[in-house]
């Protein structure tokens, strides 16, 4: 069966143009970028051109970009790297971060860090005033997810950046979901660190980057042979990095507009089904994110039926998590466990089209009706 892929916040299909750009780096320009010979230098050129592409995309300088194995590593690197290079021990973050931030923070707590987990409002927004009030003399860094992976909430990073600058604390954003969807300008937005990754934007998995503002010292977490300005040891994943840069180069604003239109159509039509509710904000939301609760039926079951119709979705329900725990993000915006269990997330990409959306809109109401007939809660 043809699959309709609406789980692009988890990961995306690699664009064929990206694959084509990567191929020479497996079998022709396969050298080690540290080698002096021709094949090594070809690899080096691929690496540095890619670095330039990524740097330019967020208005950074080339030597402010460190390539990593992805968003998880970049998030680990910035928090652990800062913590172990500084005396200050207080980190401010939010209750709606990705696990790679939350679990790094939990681990750092065991190493002596003090962490403040800021609340968010119903839409998932951090109040910049709360950030300001949480900052003390011991505060090292404020780390905030730019575009939320579950709700699509886009934070007011300009305002938070301004506060951090005024209070002289570092500011990190996790931009894995927002990158290339929302403008990032490290200068204008007062950013000290930015986490980026490739597999959310039709690039390969296992590649990411961390922007580190020039002059800021952090410790490496992977000690090795001096790669990436001695901040990340290991022979560079050149093919992956080249693919990442290619993915950035081929982003078109017209694609974002199309995604946004399809997304709005889906939301508007789904909300016509009785007893449905949009989770997260109406405005300042990532153009590809939908998160909706369907009263009295279970998200994992909705996903199971969608899958049977060839539609890939995801859910914040406890029933589908490895730990049987409700999504911490849905809890943070005030949903009860039962409400969170009724949610599904649909996330679009440039590869979706109107026909697919119409098909989803045809089958989804039927699924909801069927599951509601099966539900003891009315």
């Amino acid at each position: 069966m043809k699959q309709i892929y609406l789980d692009n916040a988890s990961t995306t299909k690699v664009d064929t143009k990206v694959v084509e750009a990567m191929i020479p780096y497996f079998s022709e320009k396969y050298g080690n970028a540290s080698s002096q010979h021709l094949i090594g230098q070809e690899a080096k050129r691929g690496l540095e051109e890619s670095r330039h592409t990524i740097a330019k995309s967020i208005k950074a300088k080339d030597d402010e970009i460190i390539f990593t194995s992805g968003g998880t590593e970049s998030n680990n690197l910035v928090l652990k790297g800062l913590f172990f290079a500084n005396e200050k021990k207080h980190i401010i973050t939010t209750k709606i971060e990705h696990d790679s931030i939350l679990n790094t923070c939990k681990w750092l707590e065991k190493q002596g860090a003090k962490i403040t987990y800021l609340d968010v409002d119903k839409g998932g927004f951090v109040n910049p005033e709360d950030v300001e009030n949480a900052i003390g003399s011991e505060t090292l860094v404020v780390s905030i997810i730019h575009g939320n992976n579950e709700l699509g909430t886009i934070q007011n990073i300009e305002k938070i950046g301004e506060i951090c600058r005024a209070k002289e604390v570092y500011f990190h954003i996790d931009a894995c979901q927002s990158y290339t969807k929302v403008p990032i300008n490290v200068g204008k937005q007062d950013l000290d660190f930015v986490t980026l990754n490739s597999h959310k934007i039709h690039g390969p998995k296992g590649v990411g980057a961390l922007y580190i503002k020039k002059g800021i010292k952090i410790n490496p977490i992977l000690h090795g042979g001096g790669h990436e300005f001695s901040l990340r040891g290991g022979t560079e994943n050149i093919s992956g990095i080249v693919g990442f840069a290619k993915a950035v180069k081929i982003i078109k604003n017209s694609n974002l507009k199309k995604i946004n239109e399809l997304r709005d159509k889906l939301i508007n039509e789904i909300l016509k089904i009785p007893n449905t509710k949009l989770n997260g904000p109406k405005d300042n939301r990532l153009c590809n994110n939908i998160n909706i609760s369907f009263g009295n039926i279970e998200g994992e079951a909705i996903g199971g039926y969608l899958d049977a119709y060839g539609i890939c979705s995801s859910t914040g329900s406890a029933c589908s998590s490895h730990t049987m725990e409700t999504s911490h993000v849905l809890k943070a915006i005030g949903l009860s466990d039962l409400e969170a269990n009724t949610s599904i997330r649909l996330s679009l990409s440039k590869f979706n089209n109107e026909e697919e959306i119409d098909y989803v809109l045809k089958v989804l109401p039927k699924i909801v009706k069927k599951l509601r007939r099966m539900s003891p809660i009315k």
């Binding site: 329900s317 406890a318 029933c319 099966m374 003891p376 809660i377």
Partner: protein, 131 residues
């Protein structure tokens, strides 16, 4: 009865997508309702009981739960239908799992939900009869 790939097998999917016993029952003799203490989801079974033979004449379920919970509910009803209360009480998660040919390990508790809900319904019925 664990499932190596941690996915639902065909039998589970069959009962999940095409359950035979789902829906509300008019005037049941008794209702059993249990909340899944792992995830908070809910299952109800409705029984009609032949007073002379003490057999389950008719059974239906309504479940707000995952695919495993819905499939377990359906299989539970299939196993219980036509059985005496005595025998039906002995239906446990093992029998449900056997019939489903296994569940992913993390979903085992959803089959327990079926066992508990039926037992609760039968106990309620027996209480009602005595009083």
């Amino acid at each position: 009865m664990q499932n190596k790939f941690e996915q639902y097998n065909k039998e589970v999917m069959k009962h999940f997508l095409k359950p035979k016993y789902s829906g509300k029952m008019k005037n049941p003799d008794v209702i059993g309702r249990i909340k899944n203490n792992m995830c908070g989801d809910i299952m109800e079974v409705y029984l009609k009981i032949d007073k002379k033979t003490n057999k389950i004449k008719d059974i239906k379920f309504q479940t707000m739960g995952c695919a495993a919970a819905i499939a377990s509910s359906d299989v539970l009803c299939e196993l219980a239908k036509g059985k005496t209360l005595q025998k039906a009480k002995k239906i446990d998660k093992k029998k449900i799992l056997e019939k489903l040919r296994g569940l992913p390990s993390i979903k085992m508790h959803c089959s327990v939900l079926g066992e508990k809900t039926l037992k609760k319904a039968i106990e309620e019925y027996e209480k009602k009869i005595i009083s």
